[in-house]
């Protein structure tokens, strides 16, 4: 059984460990791994190598193998020349609450409710922080989702803008004057998040 990695335009180069399996939809080539990849992390690493050297690479969603060809071709036209930067905003956990946590039942419930309220406020601010960053960067697409301790956002950019966006992140020019947590940005990834949305069976 082979592992589907994605699609690219015919005639493009492929990294070691990958091969072009067949033509689909006229001028697109289906790329598969030479050997089966049991771990999604290994699949993501190989998919990233394809993205680095292939022209207009569209990754296959990591959770599914079967694709709708028409939908895949449309997604290729929209995001095939793009990559994504991924942002993860983690909130700082304060130790003040632990030190003053009450031991009585009623006090515990009230304390728990206050903690949850504070966490909700922090998440609201966190979402606004990421939206504000997105507005300044003006990506071609964006996807915001909650994670355990904060928010994550994927931003879609044409490959030609990679250097300028990367420079903004690494230079700290997007610094936000708020004591909230830590923002980790990484990229440029193959557009795995946007491909998953565009190629979802019910999307």
């Amino acid at each position: 059984m082979t592992t589907l990695l994605g699609w690219t335009r015919s005639g493009g180069r492929l990294p070691p460990g990958c091969l072009a399996k067949r033509m689909v939809n006229g001028n697109l080539v289906e790329i598969v791994a030479v050997s089966e990849l049991s771990e999604l992390r290994a699949r993501l690493a190989l998919l990233q190598k394809c993205f680095r050297i292939s022209d207009g690479f569209l990754p296959a969603p990591l959770g599914h193998d079967a694709m709708c060809t028409d939908r895949m071709a449309a997604a290729f036209e929209r995001i095939g020349d793009c990559g994504q930067f991924s942002l993860h905003l983690h909130f700082v956990r304060s130790d003040e609450g632990a030190a003053t946590a009450p031991t009585t039942g009623r006090g515990f419930l009230r304390h728990r409710r206050q903690s949850n309220s504070d966490a909700r406020k922090a998440r609201t601010v966190g979402a606004e922080v990421l939206r504000d960053i997105s507005e300044r960067l003006k990506p071609r697409g964006q996807s915001l989702r909650p994670i355990g301790t904060g928010f994550a956002m994927d931003l879609l950019f044409p490959r030609g803008q990679e250097a300028s966006v990367r420079n903004l992140f690494s230079s700290g020019q997007l610094g936000v004057d708020i004591h909230l947590g830590q923002l980790v940005a990484s990229g440029l990834w193959a557009p795995v998040g946007f491909a998953a949305e565009a190629l979802a069976p019910d999307g």
């Binding site: 771990e39 999604l40 992390r41 993501l44 690493a45 990233q48 990591l62 959770g63 599914h64 991924s86 993860h88 983690h90 700082v92 304060s94 009623r106 419930l109 009230r110 409710r113 949850n116 922080v129 989702r145 909650p146 994670i147 355990g148 994550a152 990367r166 992140f169 690494s170 700290g172 997007l174 610094g175 936000v176 004057d177 708020i178 004591h179 909230l180 947590g181 830590q182 923002l183 980790v184 940005a185 990484s186 990229g187 440029l188 990834w189 795995v192 998040g193 998953a196």
Partner: protein, 74 residues
């Protein structure tokens, strides 16, 4: 009151994230691989400032194959 300071920002390449042991970067890769969502809600019944009843509900929303793969599946 917490001291105001710029949001701490870190930038990493995909290669950094894929090979890192740093929990923050590992979380980031896991976020790319996992599209599941956890929903949590709670209801409080309070009378005259006294908390009487707490109802908490949690739900996991994810793809069927991910759930059927069982714990530990990526």
């Amino acid at each position: 009151m917490a001291e105001r300071r710029p949001l701490d920002m870190v930038f990493a390449t995909p290669e950094d994230a894929l090979s890192a042991r740093d929990e923050r970067l590992v979380d980031l890769v896991d976020g790319l691989l996992d599209h599941g969502v956890v929903l949590h809600g709670e209801v409080w019944l309070t009378v005259a400032g006294i908390d009487l009843v707490y109802l908490g509900l949690s739900a996991v929303l994810t793809t069927a194959d991910k759930i059927q793969a069982g714990p530990g599946a990526a």
